[in-house]
């Protein structure tokens, strides 16, 4: 695993997220579930807690639009990008609305997998060179029902936020 230069991380364990808009490829409920499940990937192994808000500015603003100085490139190629923890645009995750996202089908890009990777960046992880790690930069299909966070990613996120404490 690796972290960004300067090892930026959130200074609180209580983070908010907001889904600003939706992809037409999936139902609203499927997008909501995919995002929630993707955040829980990280919450399960750290003390981090995520709360959804529906208005105002969240720590992690999620949109299907690049919304910044880094345009996307049409279908395939770049699927999404996200910013390391910091105020304003930091933590935000943008998904390429030209991609075809799916809930669990391999006939498209599984939004849960792409989002879980991007939220790794939102929390402070950079790309890993370990094949099979969630933070490896290229997309690889895994059934969302069988997904478990690889150990490289667990070590990475716990190096920033510590372990999940069970009381």
């Amino acid at each position: 695993y690796s972290t960004f230069k300067g090892k930026p991380k959130w200074q609180t364990n209580k983070l908010t997220y907001r889904i600003v808009n939706y992809t037409p490829d999936m139902s609203v409920a499927e997008v909501d579930t995919s995002m929630e499940k993707a955040l829980q990937v990280w919450a399960k192994v750290t003390p981090l807690k995520f709360t959804r808000i529906n208005r105002g500015t969240a720590d992690i603003m999620i949109s299907f639009d690049h919304g910044d100085a880094y345009p996307f490139d049409g279908p395939e190629g770049t699927l999404a990008h996200a910013f390391a923890p910091s105020p304003a645009i930091g933590g935000d995750a943008h998904f390429d609305d030209d991609e075809f996202f799916t809930f669990r089908s391999s006939r498209g890009f599984v939004l849960f997998l792409v989002a879980a990777h991007e939220f790794g960046h939102s929390l402070g992880l950079s790309h890993s060179n370990v094949r099979g790690a969630l933070m490896f930069p290229t997309y690889s299909f895994t059934s969302p029902d069988r997904f478990s966070l690889p150990s490289d990613d667990i070590r990475g996120i716990q190096s920033l936020y510590g372990k999940h404490m069970i009381l």
């Binding site: 960004f4 395939e76 770049t78 999404a80 990008h81 950079s126 060179n129 930069p137 997309y139």
Partner: protein
Amino acid sequence: GPISQPSDKDEATHYLKSFYNLTDLTDETTAVRREASQMTEKLKEMQKFFGFKVTGKLDKETMEMMKKPRCGVPDVAA
């Protein structure tokens, strides 16, 4: 062996600019030579990251990785 089609080179240049901080060179007198040198170094950097044989050449394995769908965050810290 190395791939020399212009489209692959263009694609590789775009990829390395996006994810490995390959920069445009403006000094025309030495730009071509320096661009080639920088391209080699960036290819080496990419090949090292992905665990490929580090040649600095645009071989099939490297090109295939460049064509895969991926995250838009650079592999090297900006």
